[in-house]
Amino acid sequence: VVYFFQMFPSFIENPTNISFSGQDTDETILLLLRAHPITNLKWIIPAIIVFFVPFFIPGFLTLLRVDLSALSSFYILSLIVINYLFVLVIIFEGFLGWYFNVYIVTTKNLVDIDFHSLLFNNIDLTPLRNVEDANSNQGGIFRSLFNFGDVYIRSAGTTALTDFLAVPNPHRVSDFIIDLAHKV
């Protein structure tokens, strides 16, 4: 499990081999963040449940006294395949949503890349020189246990907050951002 999580890190300092659209040649990524891997349970658990549905269907149909022997085996196979395609839908949506929704701190900007669904995306750029304040929030047993929470960054000239949601080590992240903003 630990090795699996290491393959898909959610807190990377000075990442190499990673770049983003719009990155300047003199701009370096200092910190790349994703939501904590434990947040993926919200799609992993439904995927596991749907995965095991075909194992319980025959017993359920027997209880209802439904006999499917009139159906050809290809119909049964098709229904099973559709079930597993549905599992793939859940996995694809969940994984892509987690992996590509990233928060990046560069030497110049805070970048928030959001893919709200498979069809809508949004990229927020906040210049570091505009950062005035950064707060971290880590409430609840689950978040304390796994050490993740939200970081809110307020920038000059706007009431909108830049938010890094469910990121690991939120206090460290907010401290890192404020220290960096003071240097710029």
Binding site: S21, L68, L71, Y75, S78, I82, V102, I113
Partner: protein
């Protein structure tokens, strides 16, 4: 107690089931093609070492869904 076949499983129901299966498979093919497009867009927005692997998986998924749709049209 022996199970009795219900009269529901008749030709009309099987026809409806066939239409339902084919509709779901067509919808999945559309979804898999949207995923290919979206993964391409995501990989261009954020370039990481595993982006090519994710792209390859999206293509394999689309290929499998199209192949199974063709197979279903031929066999159902």
């Amino acid at each position: 107690m022996p199970t009795q076949p219900l009269p529901l499983i008749d030709l009309e129901l099987i026809f409806l089931l066939k239409i339902g299966i084919l509709t779901l498979l067509v919808l999945y093919v559309i979804f898999s093609l949207v995923i290919v497009r979206q993964v391409d867009l995501m990989s261009r927005t954020l370039r990481t070492p595993i982006s090519p692997i994710v792209k390859a998986l999206a293509f394999i998924n689309a290929g499998f869904s199209i192949a199974f749709l063709v197979l279903a049209f031929g066999n159902l």
